[in-house]
Amino acid sequence: MSLRTPLGRVLGKGSAGHGAGHWWAQRVTSVALVPLALWFAISLAMLPSLDYVTLSTWMSGTWTAVLLILFVVAVAHHSHAGLQVVVEDYLHGTFAKFASLLGLLFAHLVLAAAAVFAVLRVAFGSVA
């Protein structure tokens, strides 16, 4: 059963069918980031020093690498979801809005891919 009014359907307004998906993803990443972000902050702070050897040894641990990747992906997804809502709230010009949304998506994909690649590169020990 559709909850849309007949008028809404004719005007093409209303749910595009993915509103709840965005909302849900934002919640899922929030819940995931509570432990992940705390883990990231605390384990970094607990390292005896932040020199290259200490950090790369830390990053090449299996669990550290896995959790770092999960953290980076969740944080990029969450950041994108949040900034998308900000753009949708404040930018109403069609071009400005869609250009910003596209730019945000690409920027987050680049950042997430670069961060995941960096973690994998250290974890697999292919650093020169």
Partner: protein, 130 residues
């Protein structure tokens, strides 16, 4: 077709401090999003090897960078503490006005505690500050 109302329509409400908490949550979120750039730069610098990492580390040890780090720690603490409230609301708890105001106060205090703890871990002289 008539103009449709666009959210958020803030100007129709009398100011309450819960509104400040809400907008601060959004501002801290945007600030943290910007932090994604140095975070990624820092990770890729580690992946690029010792000399690249040393360059990044000396850049990140400069005082403007430390100021930003302090800001991001505060933003993180607040966004984390205040972010638990919407999760509670989404689960159906804490909607009453008294509860919403109390949880706002609790969130601010929790944020202060988390921020102080993390600032201490990051900046107190016990070998962790790069």
């Amino acid at each position: 077709m008539r103009e449709r109302p666009l959210s958020p329509h803030l100007s129709v409400y009398r100011f309450q401090y819960t509104m400040a908490l809400s907008i601060l949550h959004r501002i801290s979120g945007v600030a943290l999003s910007l932090g994604l750039i140095p975070l990624t730069y820092w990770l890729t610098a580690i992946a690029a090897g010792p000399s690249a990492y040393d360059r990044a580390a000396s850049l990140l040890a400069s005082w403007p960078a430390k100021l930003c780090l302090g800001g991001w720690i505060c933003a993180f603490a607040y966004h984390l503490a205040a972010g638990v409230r919407p999760l509670c609301w989404d689960s159906g708890f804490g909607f009453e006005r008294v509860q919403a105001r109390a949880s706002g106060r609790i969130a601010v205090m929790a944020a202060l505690l988390v921020a102080l703890a993390l600032l201490w871990l990051a900046f107190a002289p016990h070998g962790t500050s790069a």
